[in-house]
């Protein structure tokens, strides 16, 4: 790279940073507001948290701490359940010579397009009958509807690239299909499984529609619904509301920092393949 193109590159970096600064300003504003002391209406929120206060966070944890734990349990449960269902299915769709593979893939693609309200309408009635309303297992099962199709597609895309020879070698050694799957396929698919797990977590963590429609009281209430009710009517404590929004956004921010590779893999693989 010669000096001239290098200078142009720096120019691009500066402009790119400026564009990102504008696009991400709302997130900055969230953090800034969350660090302000409680303010009466009409007081202008300062541009910078010059006098940071943890008031917003103590209030948010007091009001929303329980909802946060509910969301955490639902999201972790969804990761486990979705992988349990999706990983074997992805393997079957990628490696086994099955008739009807294209039909199943087609169903999975279409299932991703079904409006959530359709599922919610039916599940509400179904859950009322079988007693899953207001329950963490009920939410885990429902949120998996967001995660399972995506996880199958992303895991299958990876498993298609596995050379058949490694499975055949294990089979020659006398391993049955389940054994081949557990001790050969799963370990080498580690990266794809991590990607599927991270997205399953984010989907369930961020779910609002199922959380709103399949819970009716305060016993089981995920954080997104807590936040919704927080700002549903007149808001007089925006620093607590923004602190809650920060807490809700932390998994996404943390995962983007520590697991960027896996997130990047998921954003492209899921939609187009």
């Amino acid at each position: 790279m010669n000096a001239r193109t290098h200078r142009a590159g720096i120019g691009h970096t500066i402009l790119g940073t400026a564009i990102l600064a504008v696009l991400l300003f709302p997130l900055y504003w969230m953090v800034d507001t969350s660090l302000q002391p409680h303010q009466a209406g009409g007081v202008k929120t300062p541009w910078f948290p010059v006098h940071p206060s943890i008031h917003g966070y103590t209030q948010a944890i007091h009001d929303q701490g329980g909802h946060l734990l509910t969301s955490l349990m639902v999201a972790l449960g969804c990761v486990g359940f979705s992988l349990l269902i999706a990983a074997p299915a992805a393997y079957a769709l990628a490696q086994l010579r099955l008739r009807g593979v294209t039909v199943v893939l087609l169903l999975i693609l279409i299932s991703q397009m079904i409006p959530g309200i359709v599922v919610a309408n039916a599940l509400y009635r179904f859950y009322t009958d079988i007693g899953l309303l207001n329950s963490i297992p009920g939410l885990i099962l429902a949120d998996s509807a967001l995660a399972i199709p995506f996880a199958i597609l992303i895991l299958r895309a990876f498993m298609l690239t596995l050379p058949r020879s490694i499975m055949e070698a294990a089979r020659v050694d006398g391993a049955g299909p389940l054994r081949v799957f557990v001790s050969v396929v799963l370990p080498v698919s580690r990266n794809a499984i991590i990607t599927a797990a991270l997205f399953s977590f984010l989907f369930a963590w961020g779910d609002f529609l199922f959380a709103l429609t399949l819970t009716t009281g305060d016993n089981v209430r995920p954080l997104t619904v807590g936040l919704y009710l927080y700002v549903g009517t007149y808001v007089n404590d925006w620093s607590a509301a923004m602190a809650t929004a920060v807490m809700a956004s932390i998994p996404a921010i943390v995962l983007l920092v520590i697991a960027q590779k896996y997130i990047a893999a998921g954003t492209t693989a899921g939609a187009v393949k």
Partner: protein, 289 residues
Amino acid sequence: MLFLLPAVAYIVLFFGYPIVENVLMGFEHYTTSTFFTGHAPWAGLANYRALLRSNVFDEAARNTLIFTVGSIAGQFTIGLGLALYFQRNFPLSGFLRSLLLLPWLIPLLAATTIWKWILDADNGVLNRLLADVHLTSSHPGAHPGWLTSPTLALVSVILVNIWIGIPFNATILYGGLRDIPEHLYEAAALDGATGWQAFRYITWPLLRPVVNVVLVLGVVYTLKVIDIILGLTGGGPANATQTIATQSYQLSFVQFDFGQGAAAANVLILISLAFALLYLRASRRGVTA
């Protein structure tokens, strides 16, 4: 085969059954006692008749169209612009590109809550900025009610949805751009085609398959948006931001008229299905080839 069975069972139970159930519910008359007695009498086409005759549905259908077209136009144009910009590899471009994902990765309700605060008529930062540069009067009470005015609310909701959708569009289009072989541009440059001409004759035609997929998926995803509208306006003021999806929610879960709610959802299924077929055509022709 056993490996596939749990997934197929799940898909049947959590996608197949709800569709069948919605179709049936659309023909049933729900009352508040239905959930205690389990009895919902057959209603024929009464739900559809009531739905199609209601003024709310007309408005919801029109809003759905404006919301979808407006959102897609904004997301796609800005997403494509950013994808083209980030295609030139410059220092930190990878880092900036991953930061761009944030609005998409945080919970939708967190995003709408932030925007509700930014767009707040009295204390929101947007009105404060506008007043500071004298675009609007700083007189209290004269601030535009971005989410409370019937004429502005739909525009605001579209703008927020564009903000949320930019990362998805930019990422997929960026992936498509990266798949265009570099040597085509080099050959074109030798023939004197650079800049706009290179875009017009190389980038755009080769990106078309990905563009089709992004647009069709965008429509399908935008049609079913509920979270963003509920989080910002709840469909108000006076149904100014009501869409078919939010109307279905209101009918089922606020008014507990699951029959009409399902009828509205079924209208949505039909529209989505039409676009799903388009998607399958677009993706078969393009990306998988």
